[in-house]
């Protein structure tokens, strides 16, 4: 099957074209070797099926971000049969800049002039024929959105793909051409593919090229001494960039016929009008905060638009109380947001399925058979725990996609850059971080847009600290348990302060890393602000479908496998007998008891009684999915109180797990400080398997093991600090807590002083 690659600037409509060409055949997978999501699909409307590969958007073939490296490597190394270069005609100059570089590669190229409809609407026209003559490759006007002319594009591309094309350059400077020719011959002598492309990149002082062919650099340096351009001197990098742009303006300025020439200052279109408000000096930040609040409110709130009181005041709630609608649409705290309604619906269906299966199996195999336990408590409950989060994650994703597709996310980075630079990051890092509140997995994938490796590592490491949707149940259950067992605290207050703890931990860790192991100048921030566009329903849906598929795939592979392993460890003892839910004699409990003392400084270690191992075990099962933390506590709580059916029923009736936590608190002797410390530990420690797998794929080579170590250290130090801090406020523990916390403070201050002094003595070398 022939392979056509789509290459073009970001925002040129590449993904729209991809979706229009491939329809529902697209699938997301991982590139071997390179850690980037590839998208490919099949075009079937011509005689033979053609594979279409969507590459990340790029401005140039000189790599800058890791996304751009992917596109470059694909075009150079994977030898696609044809490159379809998408050009946004509303921004011809900058888009054709990439085209001039693509033409230098020995690959058939077809130029697709996209957004013709937008251009025509503004009263301008473009002369595609003229472009085709000058560029020497087929040029076709299309509208990816309206699917205009796509068949013609593919026909021409298929034609082009059957004859090889020799790369050629538009550079016309005689002296420079001589040098290019010489370097090209040297490359040819080394049997390198695409000698012209590599020759020009070497002269452009491309980092990748200079590293792989250091022996040829001298040739260029020697030449520079003889070369004198009247404007640029011997600055070949500028000469080449300039000659590309000059070529474009001199040849194609006449290609676009506008009604009137507009001066830079007059350009005031809809986009600018929107920008006036959204990036306003004062309102910009306020509007942003409001939008963010609204997004999370839509997805997670159980008191939608704070309408809680209205239902009961009008007598609606009491009349429907006890029906299926209660719980699904509202709880005591208020009306549910769309996200919560969806999630409830999923959960209700899953519970119904699990119950039906359990009943069927109990009938067929008899009560307490290991297979029933395995299927219902192991496989199904594990799967459903993960899938239950699907609706909320997807909804969050949808809202973020709308923000991204509309062009607002770029403005967010613009607004917040200065703030983020204080921590050693750029404004772009904000987007993956805020996505972390939904799910770490897509958030970590998003870090690909960061140009600097150190910034990327720091961002990925702190993403789990932005407490994700799956960690929320831990917060709610334990905060509720603390309230019930100690009669103190406020669930909302504890929940919000824990979110805040996560954010503060993230800031501290980023600042710390950027001043120690990941020291370096903050990466430059050069970014296009695309025009605002109305997001397209179709592309949003395709995007969402991709994510859902990916997520479900993970749930059925890695997560399912590890769930089964943990189930076996927690349901079988060392004598390999099935325990039927009695976890206290299981292999996992054995492991838990073994490591329990390690958690003593955190408040849930050796100071607890016999059942104390449950917290250690819960932390381990949390590695699979954070939902398991509360599930583990609930499972063990059921066993502890197994003599009193009332309590067992209470645990089972309580979906949030508060009852279970309260029972665990009473039976383990954990203090409320220990409970808070336990929440903090789960928030800051190694995230779930899915997130770890993503981190490993996205992080530069060799940094993953340090990242795991970082998470362990951060959670240990963080929770120990919180535990000793909170213990100062209790009559029974302040005696030891005050000196310990003071000690931690002294150590922290000392560390800061040492780091500051060291950094002053060893300033960062200019990059």
């Amino acid at each position: 099957m022939k392979r056509f690659a789509l290459a073009g600037n970001p925002n040129s409509g590449k993904t729209t074209l991809f979706n229009s060409l491939t329809g529902s055949t697209a699938h997301v997978g991982n590139w071997p070797g390179v850690t980037v999501e590839k998208k490919d699909g099949t075009y079937k409307k011509l005689g033979e099926p053609i594979s279409i590969v969507d590459l990340p958007g790029i401005y140039s073939l000189s790599p800058y971000t890791s996304e751009e490296v992917v596109s470059r490597n694909y075009i150079i190394d994977e030898h696609p049969d044809c490159v379809i270069n998408i050009v946004d005609v509303t921004n011809l100059e900058r888009n054709l800049y990439l085209t001039t570089q693509l033409l230098e590669i020995n690959v058939p190229v077809v130029v697709a002039l996209n957004m013709i409809d937008v251009l025509n609407k503004s009263g301008a026209e473009i002369n595609a024929k003229q472009l085709e003559e000058k560029l020497g490759v087929p040029v076709i006007s299309i509208s990816a959105l309206r699917e205009d002319n796509l068949e013609e594009l593919m026909k021409r591309a298929l034609e082009a793909s059957s004859k090889p094309r020799e790369g050629r350059t538009i550079i016309s400077n005689e002296d420079l051409l001589h040098l290019i020719g010489d370097v090209k011959i040297a490359f040819k002598g080394k049997q390198v593919d695409n000698p012209l492309f590599h020759a020009i990149k070497l002269i452009e002082e491309d980092e990748v090229e200079m590293k792989s062919h250091p022996e040829l650099v001298e040739m260029v340096t020697d030449f520079k001494k003889t070369f004198k351009d009247e404007t640029f001197g011997e600055d070949l990098v500028a000469v080449i960039a300039d000659s590309r742009y000059k070529y474009i303006t001199s040849n194609f300025h006449g290609s676009v016929k506008r009604n009137k020439e507009e001066a830079l200052e007059d350009k005031m279109n809809t986009s600018d009008k929107i920008d006036r408000v959204l990036t306003h000096k004062v309102f910009g930040l306020i509007i942003f905060a409001a939008i963010l609040f609204l997004v999370f409110h839509l997805v997670f709130s159980e008191n939608f638009f704070f309408l809680g009181g209205i239902l009961s005041a009008n007598g609606v709630a009491p009349s429907l109380e006890g029906t299926i609608y209660e719980g699904l649409f509202w709880t005591e705290s208020g009306i549910n947001s769309p996200g919560v309604i969806l999630q409830n619906f999923f959960e209700m269906s899953f519970t119904a399925i699990t119950d039906a299966v359990a009943n069927g199996l109990n009938g067929a195999l008899g009560e307490g058979h290991w297979f029933t336990g395995f299927l219902c408590d192991g496989v199904l409950s594990g799967l459903f725990a993960i899938l239950g989060f699907l609706p909320q994650i997807l909804l969050l994703f949808l809202l973020f996609s709308i923000m991204e597709d509309s062009g607002y996310m770029a403005r967010v980075a613009f607004i917040l850059d200065k703030l983020f630079r204080k921590f050693g990051l750029s404004g772009r890092a904000f987007i993956p971080m805020i996505m972390g509140f939904g799910c770490s997995v897509p958030a970590m994938v998003n870090t690909r847009t960061l140009a600097d490796d150190r910034e990327k590592i720091a961002t990925i490491r702190v993403i789990p600290f932005f407490s994700c949707g799956a960690k929320l149940p831990i917060l709610v259950a334990i905060a509720g348990g603390v309230l019930q067992a100690f009669g103190m605290g406020n669930v909302d207050l504890i929940t919000y302060s824990m979110y805040l703890v996560g954010i503060i931990a993230a800031i501290i860790c980023v600042v710390l890393m950027r001043n120690t192991s990941l020291r370096g100048k903050s990466a430059p921030f050069i970014m296009e602000l695309p025009e605002y566009r109305v997001p397209q329903f179709k592309s949003l849906m395709i995007h969402l479908w991709d994510k859902a598929k990916h997520f479900v795939q993970k749930a059925f592979t890695v997560i399912l496998a590890s769930t089964i392993v943990i189930w076996f460890l927690s349901n079988f003892g060392f004598n390999w007998a099935y325990l039927d839910g009695d976890m206290s004699n299981s292999i996992l409990a054995g492991i838990g008891q073994l490591i329990q003392p390690l958690f003593t400084p955190l408040g849930f270690g050796a100071q607890l009684n016999a059942f104390g191992f449950v917290f250690a075990v819960a932390a381990i099962t949390g590695l699979i999915a954070k939902e398991n933390v509360i599930a583990t506590l609930a499972a063990l709580a059921t066993i502890i109180v197994t003599a009193s059916p009332d309590l067992v029923a209470a645990i089972e009736a309580d979906e949030e797990g508060i009852e279970a936590v309260a029972i665990m608190i009473q039976n383990t002797g954990i203090t409320w400080q220990g409970c808070i410390s336990f929440i903090a530990f789960n928030m800051l420690t190694i995230p779930c398997f899915a997130a770890c797998a993503t981190a490993k794929a996205e992080l530069p080579k060799g940094t993953f093991k340090w990242t795991i170590l970082f998470w362990l250290a951060a959670s240990y130090v963080g929770s120990a600090t919180i535990y000793s801090f909170l213990s100062m406020f209790d009559a029974s523990s302040f005696m030891w807590a005050i000196p310990v916390f003071a000690g931690i403070l002294v150590l922290a201050v000392a560390a800061v002083i040492i780091i500051v002094r060291y950094n002053k003595k060893h300033p960062i070398k200019e990059a």
Binding site: E207, A238, L529
Partner: protein, 79 residues
Amino acid sequence: MIKRLDEFALGETGVVKTVEGEGMLRRRLLDMGVTPGTAIFLRKKAPLGDPIEITIRGYELTLRKTEAHLIVLEMGGRK
């Protein structure tokens, strides 16, 4: 008059004379179309004063003042 881009006031226009800096950063600027002879219009500053937004070659580009400092322009220029 010669000015660096970070010294521009809102609404000022200039033509690029030279682009300083080196390595990837400099080539990125050149790649994005900041080449000598190009007109730049300072469109906006972020709410916190930095970064800035410019219009160049018919599109909007944002960059920090530290990067803008590398761009030397002749004030006024073609309108």
